[in-house]
């Protein structure tokens, strides 16, 4: 399994369209902290204080990294069929379940690693920015550890969601289109269509926001732990469906 995971990670490193979004997300994690802190100060709005730190760590890295890891693994897994590299993949390892497992492990590792790196960059930038505003750094306050843990965990799940969606649809543009439509349109209209406003909390984007920003006072979101469990469920369903179809479907070689 280790050699299969290693092959998947080599595919990531050698695919520009997959790693460029990750690099961009890391850059944005720094820019987001700078943007949040530049306009602010101890006497300005938003007000900078030691309690600002967890928010900076959660908000800056999290959303960019989740989207980038999702995009990266959609491109990698659906791209196997677009470029027919699935043929060489499954000739080298005909046990398709092992290949799918390796992809999911590699996707989760990518998310966790990029999430941790984003948190490290956010932490360093936050430290510099807060110090520049003479705000004391309180690393041991509640929320800091939660942010540093939540962002990589969430990114790992988004990596698995991307890999599963790519394997399920086998079409890069369709999978990317569906992911974007889901985030910007579909998830927003589901409560209206179902006449169940409370259903939103169980949907992936809302669950991700609950993990990053915590439960709302009005209890319209899940707790971070429950939201993580919901996202893990979505990742398991997509990965399972992708795996089942990958095992059953034929791998095309020629158009003739």
């Amino acid at each position: 399994m280790r050699s299969l995971v290693s092959a998947e990670l080599l595919k990531l490193r050698s695919t520009r369209s997959a790693w460029i979004p990750l690099a961009a997300a890391l850059a944005l994690a720094v820019v987001a902290v700078l943007a949040s802190t530049t306009a602010a100060g101890p006497d300005a709005t938003p007000h900078l204080s030691p309690a600002t730190l967890p928010g900076l760590l959660r908000g800056s890295g999290g959303q960019f990294v989740d989207g980038a890891v999702l995009l990266c693994w959609i491109v990698l897994s659906a791209g196997e069929f677009r470029h027919r590299t699935a043929v060489t993949t499954f000739l080298a390892e005909p046990n398709r379940l092992r290949v799918v497992s390796a992809k999911l492990i590699a996707a989760a590792l990518t998310g966790a690693a990029v999430g941790l790196l984003a948190e490290a960059l956010s932490a360093a930038t936050s430290a510099a920015a807060l110090s520049a505003h003479h705000v004391p750094l309180a690393w041991s306050q509640p929320g800091v550890l939660g942010a540093v843990t939540a962002v990589p965990l969430l990114a790992a799940l988004f990596g698995m969601l991307g890999a599963g969606l790519g394997l399920l649809l086998r079409h890069t543009a369709a999978a990317l289109g569906l992911a974007l439509m889901w985030v910007f349109v579909i998830e927003g209209i589901i409560p209206a269509l179902t006449h169940e406003p409370g259903i939103i909390r169980w949907l992936p984007e809302a669950a991700a926001n609950a993990v990053l920003h915590g439960a709302s006072p009005a209890a319209t979101t899940l707790s971070a732990g429950a939201a993580l469990a919901v996202l893990a469920g979505y990742a398991a369903v997509l990965a399972g469906a992708g795996a089942a179809l990958t095992v059953r479907r034929e791998i095309g070689t020629t158009t003739g």
Binding site: A7, H83, R84, V87, L91, A92, T254
Partner: protein, 251 residues
Amino acid sequence: MSTIAVEALTKRYGTVTAVSDLSFELAPGRITGFLGPNGAGKSTTIRLLLGLAAPTSGRATINGRPYRELRDPLRRIGALTCPDVFHPGRSGRTALRIAARPARIPGQRVEEVLELVGLGGAAHRRAGGYSQGMRQRLALAAALLGDPETLVLDEPANGLDPEGVHWLRGLLRGLADQGRTVFVSSHLLAELAQTVDDVVLINHGRLVAAGPMGDLLGRAGAASLKSFFLDATSPDAPPAHPAPTRARSLS
């Protein structure tokens, strides 16, 4: 023991039968040409053999096992199914390293096969910038990665220039002389006639003829492989192998 055995292999897609009750066996140390008109079922048979598609009935095995049950398959069988199985943004070297990694084939072997197929100087370039002939050579290098005892090559001469075709002929002969089984599908009948020892000819998914090329041509009174092929696959030709077709050894 034969390295490849196809037994009563059938593949249907809805109402279309792509391969029908096909049986043949291949023996080591020989080059076998796999012939048939367009749509005869050659590529489907090769995909079934390589586990890329599942048969409706029957089986295709390598050393007694279906491809999907092989341990370390790249060291048992090398396959070229199509030249366009590499990511255009990756270099030839990286594409082979990715293919080699699951089988723990060392980087030194990657460099060896790149040199063997004449891509040593272009290994750092992106596969998307390769000519069709270079992509074909890269696909051949991937097939040779595990130094396998059996090679299955679907149209390996496509895109090669005359020098490349000549080089390929020598390469395949050398591999067969080492005792390996070489199974080659091609439409280039004149070239194939200079390369193969045995022939498996199919049409409409069914076996038409199989055996040593000299014997088949002699029995049919054909002057060349091309005239044998055209006679055997013409609409007026009698069915050579009514079902069920029995497996037959070619050696």
